[in-house]
Symmetry: D2
Subunit: 481 residues, 4 copies
């Protein structure tokens, strides 16, 4: 459990923690395939046509067992894939090893530094043509938008706008990115322009990344067509909700083995992630308090019997804090200093800035590492708090993320989005698209048999009465599920 | 409990069961006002400006205590109101009496015949000008679309198209409507044309009614602007879901006092109404089976741990059947004949055609009335089933519908829609509109204080980070809650 | 809904509200029989032997549809039955009528005065021998111990101890009983001595009544053998828990149609009744706070995620108060005066003294009757509270009590206890007995088939390994289920 | 993840996996102390009097972090402690190291062979007097009864009855014990007689161990007074129920990261462990089926909405099987062969014989080790199942057992039992005792403050009304909670 001098396995075109874990990873991949019927069905359906034949695809997405099944699905339908993780703690090293062992370039390990993280992202971006020219992906699978950010910012610099790379940085990570871009600028002149020339699209997975895409599109700066995978019903209403309902407690348990029954837990935010988190904690017998800024979500929480109040009102009586907002500064340093002794603080939203981690580090609180991803901070008043996964995603940092079955839904959407982007590369504009409801329903359908669901089928008379087709789609676009 | 010779109170411009119930109704209205903070707040806000001053409003909506608070809110902001119920069983007679006693014309009682029902609708539609001319409403509050239907069909006939009124009818009710239109045609020539001339808009409450409006709009036949109130989040995600979670069991209990724990209950449909119904039955310890045609909703049901299969698969083992679909022929006569002895069949969706009630009546099954709205049908094989509220809405037929607090959300949307329609009567086209998200959030906000919710407020930095205003709206249009 | 001049049906040896309700009652009895498999099975099993043949049985137990099935079961196995209710509000008049119509003497109606109540109890006690001599029951079915109290106190008086009947009374009801005993003393000299001579036993249903029996037994004053039916697992862990889980919300809904979601509800006491009540309210989306005196029950409540605090701590923030304790002065007048406006106060424990009802009446608060069993009290500060069923059992006063299926468990225990008492009338001493676990298991077994349960059967090897018989009993006596 | 050549840390009077883990263990011990208020309070209360001063105590109980806090509590109140685990997989190596590092002899590591396990048990039993004489404990803390078994069987052999050690063994483990006893007989003649001479009592933790004690007592073979800690309410109704509600899912998740939502899970047995297991799985969205032999428990399961049927009926449709019975042969080889492909089989009851593990090993199924404690068995028909923790306790084998807070309840009972046994060593007979209810309530009370519970206090009038003391105990002995 002590820090170990780090060694890597880098014999081929990959960089992973330990290639000897490949066998174990493969066994777990075999198991996961049984839990991911959507991806397996897509493999079968497109085995003959290989719609991504020879297409260069870069993925930046938590390098877990489930992602490994996604990678192999993309390869099965023809893609030429390179991969990095999108979070410094989320890689499962045996999964990365199993992928590396098959010859797919993967650059990811659990516990990267920020410098290593962005280097890995660049490695995953960098394809080498037969003539040795360095180029980039034709399609990107993104989660949080880091690849998209890097290409856009690199391209901006090559277009002559160096204002951003030379501006003051709001965080250490921001500076790391700027340093990287400057290095690329000197080492690979014209590289980003070449990359952008071939780039045909990106499919994005998360609320936060999608939000960035819409902002780029609104400003007219988006370089390629994008598919918002997050807002497929079978993504946001499943991965975000049911995924977190399973993986939040898993992260808490593996981190601290804490009894949840009888505890007071504060869930900040009652979107899909917050709904899943609150449901899980309550089911364990915790008393859950919700914080919200949106009156509609607040009213939903109240209708489910949750107390809804501010973080300030909970200080001194709550034992566990979970941020789920996608916003920043939700748990401030002042909050942490006023918490009950031994309170647990973690984030399952998106970035680590939901918690004021930097301020905590700078506060003079004494840090004691309990075990990887579990730190105790002791304040001057003698109280301590536990910070999990350094404020990054607790389910991926302290456990293994969402289980395979729910990820099969998300990744089926990702795969269909990739196929769609390539098929329509000449038709689509540089805008943000959503997958048609028909495909959304198809993704759901692919997962029903595995869990024994028997669908009812509309008669023609019933379909006519509703004014829909017997084969769907069954609902108007604005339907909320 | 026997049929009573029916007498009515009709001393003024109203028709109710018993005007002497007005005092009791008023006491319950007083209680309900405390539970309907949204409506009370709107009264206060618009007390001075009375935005509906003198506007003729016809309402067709379950004449309950909650609706009485809506009616008095519309009157408080200036409207000239006439009212009918939108369901033959849903009137609470003391609520109707209380409204009638204040001089507001209301035409509704519990247990109308279909002929009486449509006559009441016509009465609620018929305003008399100072000069004695009969005219219609300027605005309509609709639930299920019956007033809208009547005006459209009446107008169609006066335009010279008598194909529909002379066509064969698929149901007894259809024929009742046609007869009424023919009578009006002879008694009030040109009436519907006059009505349409002044009619400025309709706000509609239910999934089914909204669906009809979209169909009219698509065909270019919609005569006025319409506001789809159903798809306000604070309507469909509250009334449909949390309302049914409270009122389904209430209907079952008042009808049959049945133990729900240990029973197998089949919920047909897993939309918002189905979700609320299934949650309620499970909470009582029933084992709930869901039927669905939509793979996404089916997967949601499965993720919540419900068995999902077809009605056919449940016959002989299920004790309770609840339809929630808005579709027809969900429970067929053949289903009912094959059910377990003493199975209970009811509908909380929309129309009574979710269950093949007509076929049941015609089947030769022996009908025994247990008490109002509770009938036993005994089949030739000796088995019986119980049909509640003759297949109409069980929560309104056998209990008192949704509780006040949730209806305050729906009716706040209705009221805001009425104000909006009138304010924009010159701007809006004959299309279907949805209330802006900002108003949706406002409706929620009006209900938070009553239940002690304390909202968190975004800082400017946080709002900028998200790219929203600190005052909302907080979510993109496609957000599903 | 106004007070009606009361008339009764008293044509035969009975006194009920309206004998013409008998047909309706019979229809509901037919339905209930399907839901009470335990009683129906006992009827079948003992049809030939009629173990209570000719035995005089007095019952004092809520005169509901379910009790009617119990009465007819006792009659089927031979008993000569007379019945009263054990609560002034709990009678279902159509049930009483149905029983009266069959010639069984029953003295009960909904809304008795206390004087009427105790007169009914005396009527139910009074059997007339062929020679015209007045005598009493040989067996008593008791719920709350009122018949047992009356006989013991009457006998005490005839034994020459008049200290109690002449003492000051702590409540109006106490004085009513004393007056009755004095009247009997003058009208029927020696009556109670004759009653006691023939009395062979009592089976008692509730926690409170059982508690009284143990107290009598400890003091050596118990006159007959008693069976504690309450502590059969299939009674206290079913009726008290699952019965209340179904009937509390039913009472609240029928009384006030109130939305439970989002409300703060305080459940006083976390025994079986409190557990059922808290579970039900939470399932509706209420936020439940528990009060407890017992640290073990308090810890259980906390493990289920309930806030546990004192009544005082909840004043001003809670909307609903439910007492479940079997103790007195749980909700005091001072509590009620400090409650949030429009708070609802009710009792599902045992006696109305859980709430300081007498003090409320005497407090000067203005009482407004909303409808039967629903009263509003307005205090000087302008706030009001709602008191349901005058502080008596809300599920029986405002709804119809527990559903049939769970009562079939309780009443199967009652019936088996009656059979056992009679069979062992010469063997048993004047002590409190519990039914053997084997019978408890048998009661459960009789209810499994109806709800489709398929039991697993121990192999001989497994039974030997556990050291039990393959036929049970399966658990040690101290097992808590 | 591969098998490693095993090395041990054995520098002192201990045998643990790696003494260098002591620091990490100590950090987790510090955290656990905050979650174990009962034990910490007992330390404080008895710090001065040290009621176990110099008493030799042997513990045989899962060597986890929580147990480490128990061990240090026993030491704090004076005991001379030696410890072994009671399960080959349940040791947390860092906990064992932390204890060993303080000089307390501990013999335990994760993944012992059966031979190693029983040798460890003997080591924990073996105290050396100042003169070098080997002797045994004066008190035993037992979990499952292995120390008690070993002493009784060893003593039986020394008394001249060698029938058991020479009989045929039903399992490999049985033979291991016999071999050990024979070795001790040859190496330490008269040892067990010396041990028994000083042995004053045992406190036992589990249902199974308690059952064995009652059997010994009934046959008159029990050698010392025993306290049944399992049946303290604050043990069986907390550890068994709420402990499993937290740790079952933890074991499943750490073993296989499987999605629980949508799965069909079979819980065999609906005692406290089964109740906790079923509640947890349902909360995750699994559809839970219960199997039971006891009609009362079966009816409880049905009232909670679970399908209750036989294991046979679930084959082919269930994904997860969990045994909770304390009985044997619950999941047979034939069951496993007929299960759905990729079904998961595990045990959280007591011994591994709940599943026919031996038969599985002998069946010819191909075993693939996925990672420690996770094995896949592939049958001839191509289907596989996953067996967790080799059929031993899945929560301890695949995760870290119950969380600290609930174990603080159990271990407070253990500590109070040890104090009680020693205080009454001259008074108690060789029978099985239960701790008085007063202590049970005290244990609960010690845990309330930590989780913010505020108890209500009885007034004297209320206590008199109930006939109890204001300080408790509050319930009759037969109360079931």
């Amino acid at each position: 459990m002590n820090a170990v001098a780090r060694t890597f396995s880098t014999e081929g075109d990959y960089k992973v923690a330990d290639i000897s874990l490949a066998d174990w990873g493969r066994k777990e991949l075999d198991i996961a395939e049984h839990e991911m019927p959507g991806l397996m069905s897509i493999r079968k359906q497109y085995a003959a046509t290989t719609p991504l034949k020879g297409v260069r695809v870069t993925g930046s997405l938590h390098m877990t067992i489930q992602t490994a099944v996604l990678i192999e699905t993309l390869k099965d339908i023809g893609a030429d894939v390179r991969w990095a993780s999108c979070n410094i703690f989320s890689t499962q090293d045996h999964a990365a090893a199993a992928i590396a062992a098959t010859g797919t370039p993967v650059f990811a390990w659990k516990g990267e530094t920020l410098e290593e993280y962005w280097d890995c992202t660049l490695d995953a971006l960098t394809f080498t043509l037969a003539d040795g020219t360095l180029t980039g992906p034709e399609l990107v699978v993104d989660d949080g938008g880091d690849v998209t950010l890097l290409i856009h910012k690199g391209y901006e610099l090559e277009q002559g706008d160096d204002s951003w790379v030379n501006s003051a940085s709001g965080s250490h990570e921001e500076q790391v990115i700027k340093n990287l871009l400057k290095r690329v600028a000197s080492e690979r002149p014209g590289y980003w322009t070449r990359v952008v020339k071939d780039w045909k699209g990106v499919s994005e997975e998360t609320t936060t990344g999608v939000h960035r895409l819409y902002q780029l599109a609104e400003k007219g700066q988006l370089l390629v067509p994008a598919i918002n995978v997050n807002d497929s019903v079978t993504k946001s209403k499943f991965d975000n909700l049911y995924g977190c309902r399973e993986s939040l407690a898993d992260g808490l348990k593996r981190a601290l083995d804490v009894m949840l029954a009888g505890k007071v837990a504060v869930v900040c935010g009652y979107g899909d992630v917050g709904k899943g988190s609150a449901a899980s904690l309550r089911a364990y017998g915790a008393r859950v308090i919700v914080t919200e800024i949106d009156p509609i979500c607040a009213l939903q929480a109240a209708m489910e019997g949750f107390e809804v109040t501010t973080v300030e009102d909970t200080l001194g009586r709550a034992d566990i804090y979970v941020t789920t907002t996608g916003n920043k500064d939700i748990i401030t340093l002042a909050h942490m200093q006023a918490m009950k002794d031994q309170a647990i603080v973690c984030n399952i939203g998106h970035f680590d800035n939901e918690i004021q981690v930097d301020a905590l580090y700078a506060s003079g609180a004494v840090k004691t590492n309990i075990k990887p991803q579990v730190d105790k901070f002791t304040f001057a008043n003698g109280n301590s708090i536990f910070l999990l996964a350094e404020g990054r995603l607790v389910n991926l940092g302290c456990a293994t993320g969402h289980p395979s079955f729910v990820m099969s839904n998300s990744f089926s959407n990702q795969t269909l989005a990739q196929i769609d982007l390539w098929a329509n590369k000449d038709a689509y504009e540089a805008k943000v698209y959503i997958l048609p409801k028909k495909l959304d329903e198809e993704v759901a359908r692919l997962h029903l048999e595995k869990i024994g669901v028997k669908l009812t089928r509309l008669t023609t008379e019933q379909a006519d009465y509703l004014g829909v087709s017997t084969d769907g789609p069954y609902k108007p676009e604005h339907y909320r599920y």
